[in-house]
């Protein structure tokens, strides 16, 4: 069994790939869906974005647009927090075990 195979057999490695999948795909989909939803609204129902919120002139579109900018920052924040808490300890454990194998 070579070095790669030994790492692939580690329970921590299975956990690492699972932990990554669990966060990476949902967050990627969340960004892509939110962005293209806005793009599709712009493409097909542009007028709906001009509707004012309440009594003022601030429109739904402006609020959504600025909201997506903040949303992107929040998504990166969620991932980094999760990665530091869950992914890093697993990678460190794998690295230590792999170092001991040599």
């Amino acid at each position: 069994m070579n070095h790669t195979e030994q790492i692939r057999q580690m329970p921590e490695y299975a956990e690492l790939t699972r932990a990554r999948k669990k966060i990476v795909w949902p967050l990627s989909v969340a960004v892509i869906v939110a962005y293209f939803a806005l793009i599709l609204i712009i493409a097909f129902w542009p007028a709906s974005l001009g509707a004012p919120i309440g009594e003022g002139v601030t429109s739904v579109g402006i609020a959504l647009g600025l909201g997506i900018i903040v949303y992107c920052m929040v998504i990166t924040g969620i991932y980094v927090t999760y990665a530091n808490r869950v992914i890093e300890p697993l990678t460190n454990a794998i690295r230590q075990k792999a170092g001991a194998l040599k």
């Binding site: 692939r8 490695y13 990476v24 967050l27 960004v31 293209f36 974005l49 002139v57 990678t91």
Partner: protein, 552 residues
């Protein structure tokens, strides 16, 4: 000896600049009023950055230093430098100008330029750092054949870099012409000479520091302007929007999508180019190799996204501020048009807000911004030539630090000359489409190859080369026969291809091509490439075996 050359060149550049500004004082009455603050600030920026280049040149000895600043940049610093690389004068002045002109439409661009960043963080940054050394071609060719993949990746990089560079240089020339009263050619040559000096002598270390200083200047300048605008409206967005819709000719229509995106295909296409193009820009990808490991790469994107998002919110506020404060102010208009075009909205606003002092500061910041972005681009272009083409094709993979560094310096000078010449040739062309084209090529060639090489086991050299070339060519051809080039530049009656933004077609063509020619590939090398995936994936996930940029 090199340091002496740098000192001499820097001295000449500085002397030439001072001479030029002196003559500018003498005979610019006809062109633009000379702003002493702008010139003093700009000269200070040039002196400081040349000083940094001198310092960096003494520390740039190996290829690791030249391409990756020795790998010793921290996550926060790199995040700020990435933001510096990404926040171009085009996006500062361009988006503010677009908001000034049509409100909400400017926001569409701002969002598009930001949404690629979470994707870079989630899918690209960490495996990229774990697998590569200096360029994204390192990653794409990790388990595939070096020669064809590096040629393809370098072509994608160079096309992206050159289009982006021309767009920035033409914008720079125009801007400096208006701001400092220099002639267009002089302005382009000054920018070209400075960027070549930074990169040739200081490599990635100097480029990084130029980015950091520029990012801090730009963020503080834009913050100051946005705060002054908001203070005017008692820090209420609603008050600002009310005032803007009252004075704008389009009234409340500026609060909704306008004419920027005319049909669904163009809307989706533009969205795809901006989102996936960000993840394929060579000068951005290259920055991830300046940090130690995947943890720092992750931190870099987190900070970069924060700074860039914050910056776009500022430009949005600045655009609305410009609507309210410029539209009723005849001094900024000539023949019913904004002096210098809508791209000057942010610049005029700085004068309306803070007089000549703020105008000078923001002008100098805009100039610094241009210089920093073109330096990052030039470095990425010269690395593609020296690390991907020269080292693989001429040195045939034999490591020779000295030759490779010399090649990258020669490549930098050549790129500088080519960029300046093209910048002068394109003076009177509308180059706005070139940034779009750069993003489109990055999204259609660089991004698919990079993404699939990291995540798709069955990718083969044949598939990547054929599919990647299809993506690259489709993007180029469709832009040329589309309305922006065929009608606007070549003046034909009707475009052969009806859409302005071809990304939806070229990205799909690239992915389908790569997929099809990979699964049809039954060669022996294809089997070996598939078998090598597991080892690559383990390294991309864990970072075990990661290249340390610093050589021991």
């Amino acid at each position: 000896m090199k340091l002496k050359t740098l000192t001499a060149l820097s001295f000449f550049t500085a002397a030439a600049l001072i001479g030029l500004s002196a003559t500018t004082f003498a005979d610019t009455a006809a062109k633009a009023p000379v702003n002493v603050t702008a010139i003093v600030m700009f000269l200070a920026f040039v002196c400081v950055t040349l000083g940094i280049t001198y310092w960096a040149a003494r520390r740039t000895k190996t290829t690791a230093d030249f391409y990756a600043a020795g790998g010793g940049i921290g996550g926060f610093q790199n995040g700020l430098a990435i933001a510096g690389d990404y926040m171009s004068a085009a996006s500062f002045l361009g988006i503010a100008g677009l908001v000034y002109m049509s409100g909400f439409d400017g926001l569409i661009y701002a969002i598009g330029f930001l949404v690629g960043w979470p994707i870079v963080l989630l899918l690209i940054a960490e495996p990229l750092r774990n697998l590569g050394k200096y360029t994204f071609a390192d990653v794409a060719s990790f388990r595939l054949q070096q020669k064809p993949i590096r040629i393809l990746a370098a072509s994608g990089s160079l096309v992206t870099v050159i289009f982006y560079l021309i767009a920035q240089l033409v914008g720079a020339g125009k801007l400096i012409e208006v701001l400092f009263g220099l002639s267009y050619e002089t302005a382009v040559i000054i920018v070209g000479v400075l960027m070549t000096l930074y990169v040739t002598f200081g490599g990635m270390l100097a480029t990084t520091w130029v980015q950091l200083i520029k990012a801090i200047l730009l963020l503080s300048g834009a913050s100051l302007m946005a705060v002054l605008v908001l203070a005017h409206f008692n820090f209420s967005f609603e008050n600002m929007f009310v005032a803007a819709t009252n004075v704008h000719a389009k009234g409340t229509a500026i609060m909704a999508p306008g004419t920027l995106v005319s049909d669904p295909i163009s809307a989706i296409s533009l969205g795809m180019a901006l989102m996936f193009g960000t993840a394929g820009l060579p000068h951005i990808l290259m920055r991830f190799f300046t940090v130690k490991d995947a943890v720092q790469a992750r931190r870099s994107v987190f900070y970069a996204t924060g700074f860039i998002g914050y910056f776009y919110i500022l430009t949005f506020i600045i655009g609305f501020g410009a609507i309210v404060m410029l539209l009723n102010n005849p001094q900024y208009f000539a023949d019913g048009k904004l002096v210098g075009g809508t791209n000057m909205a942010a610049i005029h606003l700085s004068q309306a807000l803070g007089g000549d002092l703020l105008l000078g500061f923001i002008s100098a910041v805009a100039f610094a911004t241009i210089l920093a972005v073109v330096s990052g681009l030039t470095l990425a272009g010269s690395s593609a030539i020296s690390h991907d083409l020269y080292a693989t094709l001429v040195l045939k993979g034999k490591r020779d630090e000295k030759k490779e560094i010399r090649a990258s310096r020669i490549a930098t000078v050549c790129l500088g000359v080519i960029a300046v010449l093209l910048g002068i040739v394109f003076e009177n062309q509308n180059v706005a489409f070139m940034v779009g084209l750069a993003f489109c090529v990055a999204a259609s060639a660089n991004f698919p190859i990079l993404l699939l090489s990291m995540y798709w086991r069955k990718l083969t050299t044949r598939g990547a080369v054929i599919g990647g070339s299809i993506g690259l060519l489709t993007a180029l051809v469709l832009v040329i026969i589309g309305p922006t080039v065929w009608v606007d530049a070549f003046h034909f009656e009707q475009a052969i291809f009806p859409y302005k933004y071809p990304a939806i077609f070229s990205i799909s063509a690239a992915f389908i091509g790569i997929w099809l020619f990979s699964i049809l590939d039954n060669s022996k090398t294809a089997k070996a490439e598939e078998a090598a995936f597991d080892a690559q994936f383990v390294r991309s996930q864990t970072g075990i075996g990661i290249s340390e940029a610093a050589e021991h």
